[in-house]
Symmetry: C3
Subunit: 268 residues, 3 copies
């Protein structure tokens, strides 16, 4: 496990946050954190390619006999609940134990908990193990928190569970219970590519490996994904070429473009 | 579950069918049917992206503890037999029960039954549960029906099993035992992209969610796929860019282009 | 199972090898060998598309009840150890037995054995069953052979296990213990696309189906992959468009371009 940046930055404005995100991008590229991903089989290939383009090193095994070894040699963990079966639950249990013992940051993506009550119940169990961050959409939040989705409800939930939350939508909300950020970046085509949210959650894991402040790491990942999406949309002919283009854009994105394009509202 | 179009259209010509297909495309886009897919892990990502580009909402879990919840909240089901193991059989049993109880249309794709006798035997068992439609190729039909593939054999099989059959090849044959249609659309590159047939079967499921006439739904799906393939082939450099281009083409295809390009032979 | 080329060619120079590779490419395209792939779920889709673009016919089932039937009807087998669980071990045991009984060539890809000791141990067990060839990188070789990676260590290992080894890196080393070849083809973007090595291993399997000399088959596959990568890199905007482009390039690559671009050092 690599050491994340030792001292949290002082972030007091949107400009501070976009500068921090540019630095997080540079750190991911130079340190190439290893991110072990428990993710659904639909998302595995795209997620791995997004992480590689971002600068991280993905691994994806789910085998109970070896996942502990992989997580111990990793810098962050992603737990995505998609296409969830018995083997994945056993793997998750071992992986989360290894992450906690090793002091690794880990991210929960409770995908589609609004579609299956057993999955929502399992996600609530995992929250008691204190994931560092969680990325999800409004319907998933409502099913998980058993309340209507609002900025206040998200802040309450973040405080209660001591977690950074990234709620993705046309405008993203990132909140850790004390501070809140909204991001207006991104493109509508992001919702037309499968596993885009899952891949964004993996990017949050990669950022947490290099940045100790979970709000800053989560916001950085979603800002970088959103800006890459905007760049990809400029030359896309539809969701097929968009999915290819966002991987290219992640690979070539530079700090200046990231800062110039960022549309952040900071509520510190 | 959404209600499909209440009254079947009167289709009496190739022109009627292409107009119906244009309407089915519009219905899928406006109603965004949820399609639960039991499909092989090779095909999952491409199938999900094809469904999203088409306008439908895919889900893909195979976990026995939650697949029933997913199917109940869906508008159609796909059962593809690729990379089939014990967990998928258990999931299929639960999913088909839920589809039958909920009155959902469901599609069988008996992929590669010509390569493994146990798979053919399982596919024959599923036929007794009356899938709404089945998409397959000539070798798969021959293995399943234990006869040579011919238009008459397909018609006999469709009558016997009360099913709409989509037999895909250079020229597609769609038949429900009473009516038959051939489609000359498509491109040779479709056979060079893995999961193209699997994705077409998922499109049949999406069309059945909005169109009660299984022959019309099956023919609409295969016509839309074939025309999108032709459009993609115009700018493809090979099967890689073709696979990207067909997703773009599905997203941007308009009714006029669909009707103008359709090459249908109607045998009512 | 198809018969590979009956008589080994006499290869005595780099020019002989590039001519042989051009012939292997033509053989794969004309004979369309069936390659059954036990591979990780991250790699399945890309591997299948690479094999189709190359001219081979992939199948990927892992189900113990049917994998024997598939391997019996195949011309070569790939065993990749990624995302390895109980079902895959059982499938591997049945598949390798079927390959040995049928006299099929088979390839071992011990991916990430440097990350999990149980996986390295399992890979060593498989080596006692004499795979025809093995493709891996330097870290994986070091973990497997429990020695530092060097050309001499690779040659010793190849002799001891009577296997052709393809060690991929910026410069690839192919060695069967008696002869050694280095290839300077390829592009740095190949390391930024997930499953590129896995797909190269599948190409080795396809070449072994048509070429009995394992060194020639392994070198041909890696040369073809490297040259296709160079062609794809010419128009790529990043790893996303590169992954698409290498599939296009495999499909359109011609013998003259392959020979002209080859950068082979022959140590017969």
């Amino acid at each position: 496990m690599q050491e994340p940046t030792a001292l949290s930055r002082q972030i007091a404005s949107a400009a501070d946050l976009s500068a921090a995100a540019a630095d997080v991008l540079a750190q991911v590229r130079s340190r190439a954190p290893r991110v072990h991903c428990i993710t659904n089989s639909v998302a595995q290939n795209f997620t791995a390619n997004v992480l590689l383009a971002f600068g991280a090193i993905p691994s994806m095994t789910l085998s109970p006999v070896e996942i502990g070894s992989f997580v111990k040699r990793s810098d962050a963990l992603l737990v995505n609940l998609g296409t969830f079966g018995t083997e994945r639950r056993e793997a998750t249990s071992i992986a989360v134990d290894a992450a906690i013992q090793g002091g690794l940051p880990w991210v929960l993506d409770p995908v589609f908990v609004d579609r299956a009550p057993p999955r929502a119940s399992y996600a609530r169990d995992l929250l008691f193990l204190h994931p560092t961050a969680m990325r999800l959409n409004a319907q998933e939040f409502a099913a998980l928190a058993q309340t209507e989705t609002s900025a206040d409800a998200v802040a309450d939930f973040a405080r209660e569970h001591r977690i950074a939350i990234g709620l993705t939508a046309a405008s993203d909300l990132i909140c850790d219970g004390a501070r809140a950020v909204t991001l207006a970046n991104g493109d509508a085509l992001m919702a037309k590519v499968t596993a885009m949210g899952c891949a964004a959650s993996a990017m949050v894991s990669a950022c947490l490996a290099v940045e100790r402040d979970a709000l800053v790491a989560t916001a950085s990942a979603l800002l970088i994904a959103g800006v890459a999406g905007e760049i990809a949309a400029q030359s896309a002919q539809g969701p097929g070429s968009f999915a290819v283009g966002i991987i290219d854009a992640l690979h070539t994105l530079d700090a200046a473009a990231l800062v110039a394009r960022s549309r952040i509202t900071w509520n510190g």
